[in-house]
């Protein structure tokens, strides 16, 4: 499903040039659950952003569903992204001014789905995430675990083939963290490909494969 060849990313400011990714080549197959680990600043998030089509690499190739996408414009990437990829962030990234239901509904709006269908689909997913009783609440009124469940609900609402999670449990206590990881695991069991970036060995245990990054390079790939 995903394949990169010699992927690199260099950030330039006026004075400093930082290599965030250095010739990274790796592959993720349909239905896999992969964890990317590594110390702070090793390039995990940069890699995830490129995989998630939020950013373009500075060099190398990136095949998404066998299509070379590394030079896609923002418009083209957005199109691919909204159909295929769901995101879960460490800081949840819910919109404070929208309630649970409206937050979850957003991707469907941008996909142009009619309102009646949207309502049905949102209900289904909220039910599944066991957050339906909080549908009218605003993010500020929810606990961290609940917020992250809403974020997961939003990530899966459009039935993406791939979910990218950046430190999904980083802001949660262990019980809530476990709950979120269980959710991701069950999504994976239903066939969704999942890539998470994490510091936590416990979270990484959920994955079938752990990729370790250091200074922008892959140092090990363990398959369990």
């Amino acid at each position: 499903m995903i394949k990169t060849e010699n992927l690199s990313k260099i950030f330039r400011t006026d004075e400093v040039e930082t290599t965030a990714l250095d010739e990274v080549s790796f592959e993720v197959k349909q239905g896999e659950f992969v964890a990317i680990m590594g110390p702070s600043g090793c390039g995990k998030s940069t890699l995830l952003n490129i995989l998630g089509l939020l950013d373009n690499p500075s060099g190398g190739d990136y095949y998404f569903n066998d299509k070379e996408v590394s030079t896609f414009s923002e418009r083209q990437r957005a199109k691919l992204r909204k159909k295929n990829i769901g995101f879960v962030f460490q800081s949840f990234n819910l919109i404070d001014e929208l309630n649970v239901q409206e937050n979850v509904e957003l991707p469907l709006i941008y996909l142009g789905m009619p309102a009646s269908q949207r309502r049905k689909r949102v209900e289904e997913v909220l039910e599944k995430m066991q957050i339906i009783h909080r549908r009218k609440h605003f993010p500020m009124q929810l606990s961290g675990g609940q917020q992250q469940r809403v974020a997961v609900a939003r990530a899966v609402i459009a039935n993406p083939h791939l979910i990218l999670a950046d430190e999904p449990t980083g802001n949660l206590d262990s019980a809530n963290g476990e709950e979120v990881m269980n959710l991701l695991e069950s999504l994976n069991n239903e066939g969704t490909t999942i890539i998470i970036v994490t510091h936590s060995q416990r979270d990484a245990e959920y994955a079938q494969r752990i990729v370790r990054l250091f200074d922008g390079q892959i140092i090990t790939e363990n398959i369990k």
Partner: protein
Amino acid sequence: MFINFIKTAFRYLIKRKTYSLINLIGLAIGIASFILIMIYVMDELGYDRHHERAEDIYRMAQIYDFEGVGENSASLPFPVAFTLKDEYPGIVENICRIFNFQAPRSLIEYGEQKFNERRFFFADSTYFEIFRHKFIQGDPETALDEINAVVITASSAKKYFGDEDPMGKILKFEEVAPLKVSGVIEDVPGQSHFIFDFMGSMASVKSVYGGRLPPTWVWNPCWTYMLLAKGANPEMLEEKFPEFIEKYFYDAEKDNITLYLQALTDIHLESRLDYEIAQNNNKSYIYILTSIAVFLLVIAGINFMNLSTATSGKRAREIGIKKAIGVSKRRLIFQFLGESLILTYISLILAIIIVELTIPSFNTFTGKNFDLAILLQPQYIIGLILLGLFIGLFSGLYPAFYLSAFRPLNMLKGDHGLMQNSGFGRKVLVVIQFTISIALIIGTMVVFNQLNYLKNADLGFKKENIMLIPVNRTPVASSYNAFSKELLLDSRILNVTAMDDILGGAHNTHEFRPEGLPEDKWQFYPAMVVMWNFVETFNIKILAGRNYKEKNKSDPVTGMLINEAMVKHMGWRSNEDAIGKKFRSLNGEERVIGVINNFHVTSLHAAAGPFVLNMKEKPREITWFLKYVAIKYQAGKEQEVIDLVNKVWMNYAPSRPFEYSFLDQELRKLYDDEDNLSLLSMIFTFLILLIAGLGIFGLVSFMAEKRTKEIGIRKVLGAETLHIILLLSVEFFWLIIIASGFAWIISWLLITDWLNHFAYRISLNWLIFLASALIAMLLALIITTLKAWFASKADPVDTIKYE
């Protein structure tokens, strides 16, 4: 400490370039416009105040009212002035009359030089005791004592005599009277409702009328000014007028006359009487311009407040640290006020530069002659310093209190709690800005439409392709018939007629006594003395009866034409019914021979009322009454016709300079005030929109900045540029809808009131109201779109992670 403060303030301004620039530019344009408008307004308000004891000088005016028809005249009969002074010596300290033979211009000669002078008047010797002009040569006490004396202005002296000494030189008036220069004064200041270049002695007028001034209490050609005694007030005198009228005016007119006083300093802005010396301005236009000036400042000030509070989040940390180390709230308030004052004074300097650059064009628009040096006068310097202080405080106070109220702990954490509430205050301010902007758009469009309506209205006669030549007291007037016949020989000349005023511009009233009224019951009807072909030349319609016919020798003596409104006024059943009705006039007995359509004899500020046309037969009368010859010519032949008429003119009046104008241009001048207002309000409304637009740009930039993360999230979730634009515009959309509501109500009330000053007005079109809201929305949309487009181009990756 102070240096440190200035340094911080400057660094802060530079750090936030966009917002500082928006504030600077907005404020500078606002202040510059304010200064320009105020220079104009102060000038208008300062008319006639340069005279010593200006507040004790009054002009006397007279209303003739015959059942709603008549005149409200700025001038009075000859005997009124000194009879009044003799009657009430304790109240009237001094009085004088000004007279110009009711001639639009006078021929003045010196040697080979000949000019038609428009500002030649005669006045009583008391004139210079009431109006203190600066004498360069001669003695104000005696300058106008002698027969055939004339006082001239420095410019006129230069024009006729160059560097020669003007005193004692002889100027020939209308080819008959030799006037000796008895004084030279400085030019009359432009801030005067009455400007003259020559002032002859009233004693000289006597010789024209056989040794005495006309004793009649009917004919009213004298502008009469008086100086009230110290301690006297105008009401005291006005109370006496009824008994004065009773005692001196003729029985036939007594009941129809009212006398009243106008303060000298009010004339320029408030007086719109019949027979004004010159056209005055309109006070309501001064109010309108002043409001616009204040609005400009308010809108620029609101920009400042909005941007300061909106972006305050960025300063939360600075404020937090300062508070944490013990800087008092008061000190912080001073800091923020200081910053706003610095910004304001920089804007003020920029504004003065803008004023300097634009003052020449402003002079062209307003017909004034302002100079930047005016700002160096102490009152302006103090005014400007206070203005800066006021704007700085006005726009800085709210942000200062708002910012300094932040709680230090929350702020260090980056959360300053007040942000949420302040959204409402900002919305209110934005609504105020848009309410003003939309109301002004509506106002400007209505003024513009009304003006167009006035200019293009059907006047009831055709004003196009008509050349006017002033012929008063010239040989052309006395040989009018031959002159007109000669012109008509040329095929390019379609019609020629003559009259005693410019049709559509002004008219006189003449006395008539309708059939059935008692012997002494004269009525004064608005009327015009005309010559043959008047109806044809102006395409006036005969509704009943017939036109004047040249072969009907009795027509000039006994025939009169009246308009439909006159028929109605007399209570006659129909136009046909009016034919043959008799009037007594100075001609003797006259009969209505025809009824013509109503046409507008004055500007459309006033309604078209009853009107009478008649002719004169005696050569002396013709010479007196024929002031303008009107020549209807073939369209497009202006230049040829000018040459032709000039040539014919030279055959009849070789000693007189040839002058001409065109009727449509003359009539346009009636709306100079509205023209000015329309142009100025258009320019300043545009500037207001510009400043408000800058404000929106600032706010949208800030909103986009504040919502960077949200925009990022939405983009990750698939939002496209259009979605982002909608996201940022939708708030303004609602604010504009609310503002439109307010603006519609306010402007509807004000504009209806303004339009009611016109006898002929447009009806308010709802499209104008809709368009104003749409313009505001379009403006907001363009700005938000631009900004949102940039915001949506930012890579979401950079934005979602940072708050």
